[in-house]
Symmetry: C2
Subunit: 127 residues, 2 copies
DNA sequence: TTAACTGTACTATTCAAGATATTACAGTTT
DNA sequence: AAACTGTAATATCTTGAATAGTACAGTTAA
């Protein structure tokens, strides 16, 4: 499904959360689609089931997935509120990046050019 | 000089590094300007001098400051190479943010609009 | 009904990174 | 000499992350 980056300083469960979030937002994981079970995912990534459980628990609390006892975990139908939150967060991140670019002397024209380039690349760059 | 965010999960020395980097890039700290001494900064932030030393050591290794034994630490003259690196990193970050926005359904027009807004705000948002 | 899956909840333990505390020494300035 | 600077080293404490193991509850299909 994905790989972990052990050179990344962030905790493993954070990486897992991020990856799954991305897969859901990009529609790779469709609403109500079942995720690998806690034990299976743990086996695939060669780590402890508790770590996966932690990631799943968080993701459910945040509204990205839902879990059914005995059945499994499933991609949630993202609420408009959640999508709005995501958008605001991205906008904030965008503004910060742009401010930094401006301070570094990157001209507006170049910034606009990069934006268009990113959108033209159409596909969902998988990282 | 600045404050620390204890709700931030990242280590303190990382936050310190980031803040100082930003101050230098934005020109708040001019080239060759002296930074607070290790002990003074530690006293101001109410933490251990070792933590500041760690931040300063890293910053020197990365080319943002230089230190003179017995005198102090000073903002470096940023090399074009370092500025280039910074730019590339920001560009990468920008592209990732935009890809995410695109996947969330934010139209190109809106993205461009935000970019212009960020540049119009002129000043260096200190956050 | 049983077996083999699912999720979930504990507790105990190990491990590493971050941060502190303390001491010491070298160079600069007045 | 005193009071600053940087720098280095060691020992200790604390915390979060991750592991290991066990147990129990719900689901599904043979």
């Amino acid at each position: 499904m994905f790989q972990l980056d052990y050179s990344d300083a962030r905790p493993l469960y954070e990486q897992i959360k991020e990856r799954i979030k991305t897969l859901i937002i990009r529609g790779v994981l469709v609403s109500n689609q079942q995720l690998p079970s806690v034990r299976e995912m743990a086996s695939n990534l060669t780590l402890n089931p508790n770590t996966i459980q932690k990631a799943y628990r968080d993701l459910e609390a945040e509204g990205y997935i839902y879990s059914v006892r005995g059945k499994g975990n499933f991609a949630a139908v993202l609420s408009p509120a959640l999508k709005g939150e995501e958008q605001m967060q991205l906008k904030k991140q965008l503004m910060e990046t742009l401010t930094a670019m401006q301070n570094l002397g990157v001209p507006l024209e170049k910034a606009l050019q990069w934006v268009k380039a990113a959108y033209e690349t159409e596909g969902s760059d998988p990282e």
